[in-house]
Amino acid sequence: MKKKIDLLQGTLHLLVLQALAPQPLHGLGIAQRINQITNQTFEVKPGSLFPALHRMEESGWLKANWGESENNRRAKFYSLTSAGRRQLERETEDWQRISLGIASALGAN
């Protein structure tokens, strides 16, 4: 099993936005999707996921609707708003710049 990395503040937002980009998901779905798309690098606990989701909803990046899960359970589904999509683009750009910078810094010697 790979070592789990604690999420940096801000990184979680980016991951949630990325996870929700293709389709709406409920809380557990988001956690699983993040786990999957990061090759099991990140495991998001509900204690940090839910506050982040609510915060992002209040910021207008996400909107939530109640719906049925795959096995017919009522669940709250989150989806990106247009503001959320713009935020995702912005954060992706930022992140790429940062990671390029850090990569070049690490490759310097």
């Binding site: 509900p46 940090s48 609510h54 910021s59 359970r73 669940a75």
Partner: protein, 871 residues
């Protein structure tokens, strides 16, 4: 937009909180269910899956709380919750809350009151525009700090000054208003026309004086104070342009000042132009009676000002004048605060101590309460309240109490200020008010108190260990008890300092009123009658009135003896002059004596002893040879080794033969040192001097029925001149008036000290009572093992004694160092008065033991059987 969605969320969180909560609960539940299902799909059986999911979630309530914490408005929402909860809790403990609010109210209220006084009188200063550039100028000579200017000096300086934008001179005057109801003697000021311009205050109606009104003949204009306008003219606007008759002369009313204006004091009822070149001033161009007010040019430093004062002082002074004169500018703010400054600061300090005691007391009460609430706190911690949340809750409670205490304090201060202004009889207080700054002070003081008494208990309360508290042990932690003892120690120490200050001021006040003024004031009625210039223009008319009036007064039934003086002791008037002793090298430059024209019989009527020679008689008339009676002090100074009687002395042109020596008396205040005095027969005052120095006749009448005489004397004078203003008083009342200020501050510090003492006693009582309940079981065991009730009493009182003595010792030490601030306002005792420093601590120990006795007695009534069974 982000901001809109945030606002919408805020609104939802605050107003739709029930729906938001329900959805949150549902969301977490559904997560748990989905997660369980996922784990079951991965191969766990149902109970293991549920368990794993729950562990992964980490506590439903905690997750919910974490979500709540990131929400918009969460902070406000919890504060609001805390607030409502605080009100609920406090309402459930009305005795505790009531006591705390009352104690805080007293502490904050008295501090706010003193702050309002200090703020209005010392900090805020006069409310004139750019008042920091206003100053008054005096001359300082070796015998006196504040000597006024002469017309010549003022005019010379006014022309030469470089640092002043504008200068004004003024001098007090009393004129009789006639033709508007009863004739009335009112006090006013003669001011140079620049006066209002220097102050930069304009009349609320009409105009200020114009420069032309400062020339002789043009000076019959008057500006009324708001009070006089209301009293004599019913606040009619049409008064402008009307005429007012004062001392028989008609003055045009040109303006009315705003109500707030009262310069140089609030006794001033009118202002008339001073024509410095006119006869009234040019008759005595070198007499020092003008007070000088000036506005500095912008940016003049105090050093530059003093430098000009020094050089001009030398240039303006007459070279023949050998007196060592220095010109001293004093900032107007300081002038107005006057001698109230140090007493006010002392009182502010005292009241600060009172506030600290109140805080300590409240902290003690809240500590005790925190002890009692330990299990409640533990329970709330167990139910998920974070330490921060508990702390916030306790601080909110403290804040609510502080706010209520502050409000009560504000009301008390407002009420107290009203009382003071009505009853204290200190005119300077009339301008004091609770303004924005005082209000701000109350808010700050309350917040400070809230933090001070809220923080300690909050910390100890929120640190409670779960197990100890839930197990229900009522034994307090030693830390909290230590804190409570420390608080009582501080309270006692502070109260001791305050009480010593109070005792010092009380003793000083008693000393002051016990001072022998040098005469017997009891049973002496005084009647002050002023001869106006228009009705008595010449000295001969004045002397004629003097004779007939004195004869009339002497014939009143019940009068044992009657006499007259121009400047009555404690009457508020003064006449000093330089003098010369025959045969001694010229006029000694610094020799100034009080000159007192009197009638025969003055010394016996007042009870001033004649130490040698004889009293004046009717033969010492205007045609008789010039004579004088000198005070003992002057006799001793002038003829140290010789009998004064028969020697010659003069204050004017003519040499006077000394025919008697009388005892020294106090002229104006009880705490002054005696001054050299020359008494002269009234008819022998030189005519030109009599014009300004002998118009005021003060009859003194000794009688065994002073009430009856007081009622008659006005009639006896009015029988001769019905237009004359006569004010009747008693000599004792005049002396009492002179002690108004020390009386006022002694009362105030007395009240503060008694409050402090009561609070300290309350503190001692609380701690000892708590000690007794805590050691209930121990006391029971002791009793069961054979201790007597007296032993128990001794045990508890011993603890009280320890607490009190430690506090008092610290207080004594503090008082010893702080007492020097009292030095300037004490009279007749030193700041380290040994008697005070012995008696006050002893008294305090006794009072402390009394406060401990009540709980101690309860301890002796402990029933060993019940006490051992409890807990």
């Amino acid at each position: 937009m982000r901001i809109f969605s945030s606002l919408a969320a805020f609104r939802r969180n605050l107003f739709g909180s029930r729906k938001v909560e329900r959805e949150l609960a549902e969301e977490v539940d559904s997560y748990l269910a989905l997660s369980t299902e996922a784990k079951m799909r991965a191969g766990l059986d149902e109970s293991a899956a549920r368990r794993a999911a729950a562990i992964e979630l980490g506590g439903v309530e905690q997750v919910k709380e974490q979500v709540r914490e990131v929400r918009f408005g969460h902070f406000l929402e919890t504060r609001w919750q805390d607030l409502r909860f605080a009100f609920r809790t406090l309402r459930k403990a009305p005795v505790f809350s009531g006591t705390v609010v009352l104690v805080l109210g007293i502490g904050i209220g008295s501090t706010a009151l003193m702050f309002a006084l200090v703020n209005s009188l010392l900090l805020r200063g006069p409310s004139f525009p750019e008042a920091e550039r206003l100053c008054m100028i005096w001359q300082k000579i070796p015998q006196e700090d504040r000597v006024s200017f002469s017309p010549n000096e003022f005019t010379a300086w006014e022309k030469q000054s470089e640092v002043f934008q504008k200068m004004a001179a003024f001098t007090g005057t009393s004129l009789t208003i006639s033709g508007r109801g009863e004739p009335d003697l009112v006090h006013g000021q003669m001011v140079t026309p620049s006066f209002f311009e220097v102050l930069r205050v304009a009349p609320s109606h009409g105009r200020a004086f114009v420069a032309g009104e400062g020339t002789p003949g043009q000076d019959h204009a008057v500006i009324l104070s708001h009070g006089l306008w209301r009293q004599k003219f019913g606040s009619r606007l049409e008064v402008l342009g009307e005429q007012l008759t004062m001392d028989g002369k008609a003055y045009n009313i040109v303006g009315v000042m705003p109500e707030s204006f009262g310069f140089p004091d609030h006794m001033t009822k009118f202002w008339v132009p001073a024509a410095l070149m006119g006869p009234a001033f040019q008759e005595h161009p070198d007499a020092h009676f003008l007070r000088v007010l000036a506005r500095l040019k912008p940016g003049i430093s105090p050093e530059r000002l003093q430098a000009e004062a020094d050089t001009l002082g030398k240039r303006v002074t007459d070279p023949a004048d050998k007196t060592d004169r220095r010109f001293i500018p004093v900032e107007l703010k300081q002038v107005l605060a006057g001698n109230l400054r140090s007493p006010l600061l002392v009182l502010l300090g005292a009241v600060g101590f009172l506030l600290l005691i109140a805080c300590a007391n409240v902290a003690n009460l809240t500590l005790a309460r925190a002890q009692a609430r330990r299990s409640e706190m533990a329970l709330r911690a167990a139910l998920g309240a974070s330490r921060r949340r508990l702390l916030a809750q306790l601080l909110t409670e403290a804040g609510v109490l502080a706010a209520m205490g502050g409000t009560l304090g504000l009301l008390l201060a407002q009420w107290g200020l009203g009382l003071l202004q009505r009853f204290a009889n200190v005119p300077e207080l009339s301008g004091a008010q609770i303004d924005g700054r005082a209000l701000g002070f109350v808010v700050l003081a309350s917040a400070f108190c809230g933090l001070l008494f809220g923080l300690g208990p909050a910390c100890s309360g929120s640190r409670t260990s779960l197990q100890n508290s839930l197990s229900g042990s009522t034994r307090s932690t030693s830390g909290a008890t230590g804190a409570r003892h420390a608080l009582v120690f501080a309270e006692v120490a502070l109260a001791a300092v305050l009480l010593i200050g109070c005792a010092l001021m009380l003793r000083s006040f008693v000393r002051l009123v016990q001072v022998d003024p040098g005469f017997r004031p009891s049973n002496v009625v005084t009647a002050d009658a002023l001869m106006s210039e228009d009705r008595y223009p010449a000295k001969s008319q004045m002397v004629a009135f003097y004779r007939t009036a004195l004869a009339n007064v002497r014939n009143l039934p019940g009068v044992e003896s009657a006499a007259l003086i121009t400047h009555l002791p404690f009457g508020g008037n003064d006449w000093g002059n330089s003098y010369e002793v025959e045969g001694q090298s010229a006029r000694e430059p610094n020799a100034v004596a009080q000159i007192r024209p009197v009638s025969p019989g003055y010394f016996s009527t007042l009870g001033i002893p004649l130490k040698g020679g004889t009293d004046f008689s009717e033969r010492d008339s205007e045609t008789g040879a010039g004579v004088a009676i000198v005070s003992e002090l002057l006799a001793r100074r002038s003829w140290p080794n010789d009998n004064a009687v028969g020697k010659k002395i003069r204050y004017g042109e003519e040499w006077l033969t000394v025919i008697g020596v009388c005892g020294d008396i106090k002229h104006g205040t009880l705490d002054e040192s005696s001054s050299s005095t020359i008494y002269v027969p009234y008819p022998q005052v030189p005519a030109e001097v009599a014009q300004f120095a002998a118009r005021d006749l003060n009859f003194v009448l000794r009688s065994s029925s002073p009430g009856a005489v007081a009622a008659e004397v006005r009639g006896a004078i009015h029988a001769l001149d019905p237009t004359m203003v006569v004010s009747v008083n008693s000599l004792e009342a005049l002396i009492r008036e002179s002690t108004t200020q020390p009386r006022f501050r002694t009362w105030l510090i007395g009240i503060f000290s008694i409050l402090a003492l009561s609070l300290a006693c309350l503190g001692i009582y609380g701690v000892i009572a708590y000690l007794v309940t805590q050691r209930y079981k121990e006391i029971g065991i002791r009793l069961a093992l054979g201790a007597t009730r007296a032993d128990i009493l001794g045990l508890v009182l011993g603890r009280t004694f320890q607490l009190a003595v430690a506090g008092i010792a610290a207080g004594l030490l503090g008082a010893f160092f702080l007492a020097r601030f009292l030095d300037t306002i004490l009279f007749g005792i030193t700041a380290h008065d040994p008697l005070t420093f012995v008696v006050v601590p002893l008294g305090l120990v006794a009072i402390a033991l009394l406060a401990g006795y009540l709980p101690a007695r309860r301890a002796t009534q402990v029933d060993p059987v019940t006490s051992l069974r409890c807990e």
